[in-house]
């Protein structure tokens, strides 16, 4: 090779060199990469990451972008982004609901509403409905009994023969008198 092949400018020199190594880029974890970006790694470990970054254009791009962003004042994000993200995690009251007993689990299987909170409220409503139904049944039964009793009494008054009274004795006297 001749010295004429060595370009005078630094850039041209670098571009005339085969700088990419024919090795697969080493996998770097997010945690290691973050630690390297902050300059927290010991020299030996940092050199390993620097080799990986130097050898992988995508990692180099990522490193330069992140270093730039982390060193600047950030713009305010759209409110929609925050609201959507906040909705990903539910409310504490729902998350901290007490563990269900086997009976509750069975009920939850039978009636899904039992497994979704408001069980006490729904239970109270169901209890009230039962009380109302029983009261209605009792009242309805009472009226029915009175009706049956009344009907039975009227039927009995029509079929039971009159006890012997003064009229009957008079009739018998008249019969015997006529025969004599």
């Amino acid at each position: 090779m001749s010295t004429e092949r060595i370009p005078s400018s630094d850039r041209a020199l670098w571009q005339s060199l085969a700088t990419d190594r024919p090795v697969a880029p080493e996998a770097v974890s997010d945690m290691d990469f973050a630690a390297w970006l902050e300059g927290r790694l010991p020299e030996a470990t940092a050199a390993r990451i620097e080799a990986a970054v130097a050898n992988d254009p995508a990692m180099r791009q990522a490193a330069l972008e992140l270093a730039e962003i982390l060193g600047t004042t950030l713009p305010v994000p759209p409110a929609r982004m925050t609201v959507r993200a906040q909705a990903l995690v539910g409310f504490e009251a729902e998350r901290q609901s007490p563990r269900q007993s086997p009976r509750q689990t069975w009920l939850a299987g039978l009636f899904p509403a039992f497994g979704r909170g408001f069980a006490l409220h729904r239970g109270a409503m169901a209890g009230m409905a039962v009380v109302i139904a029983v009261a209605g049944f009792v009242l309805g039964g009472g009226l029915g009994e009175t009706y049956v009793e009344g009907k039975y009494a009227s039927t009995r008054s029509q079929t039971v023969p009159k006890p012997f009274g003064r009229d009957t004795i008079n009739d018998l006297n008249d019969l015997f008198t006529d025969n004599t």
Binding site: D30, A34, L66, L74, P75, R84
Partner: protein, 181 residues
């Protein structure tokens, strides 16, 4: 507003709603900036950017906050780790969309240049340059970044970048001059 460094990580990983809400408010500006920057070379709509950002938050809280629990405060700041995770999620999102395009003005000339196959490039011997020297030269020439940006990346001052660059080129020139007949 609560800073990211003030977030109670134990409470966050336990899934407490209030801590999550505070975390989202503190983390949104960073995630928004990282995702937008990572997706800038893809022709994606505002809705896609929103979805990519949401994807980051979903990753953080998925499987009982499994990803968030891998964060180690002793090794790096939460902001830096979150930025790394966000960028990687955003790139995955863009790849899924498969609409990778870059405005021609944003692509460095070295990438666009058609390589002259007839010129055999000189190989740099193993160990001639340190990893840091190689990285600095690649950032300056391949990525076309200026000295200040490289200094910011490596957390060193600009003068150190210049001197490292200078020493690296001296080594290269000396090596190839000696190799020349």
């Amino acid at each position: 507003m609560t800073e990211l460094g003030q977030i109670d990580l134990r409470s966050l990983a336990a899934g407490h709603k209030r801590t999550w809400d505070t975390f989202v408010v503190a983390a949104s500006p960073l995630i928004n900036a990282v995702v937008r920057r990572a997706l800038s070379s893809y022709r994606l709509s505002e809705d896609d950017v929103m979805d990519a950002a949401q994807d980051v938050f979903v990753r953080l809280c998925a499987n009982d906050f499994r990803l968030l629990k891998t964060y180690d405060p002793a090794r790096a700041g939460l902001s830096t780790w979150l930025a790394v995770v966000s960028r990687s999620a955003a790139v995955d999102f863009a790849r899924r969309r498969r609409q990778a395009t870059a405005p021609i003005d944003d692509v460095p000339e070295s990438v666009l240049a058609v390589e002259d196959r007839h010129v055999e490039k000189l190989k740099i011997p193993e160990g001639l340059l340190t990893e840091r020297q190689t990285l600095i030269l690649k950032c300056l020439y391949d990525e076309e970044r200026d000295v200040a940006e490289v200094a910011q990346l490596l957390k060193i001052d600009a003068q150190t970048v210049r001197s490292t660059h200078h020493k690296a080129l001296l080594r290269l020139r000396e090596h190839f001059k000696e190799e020349a007949p």
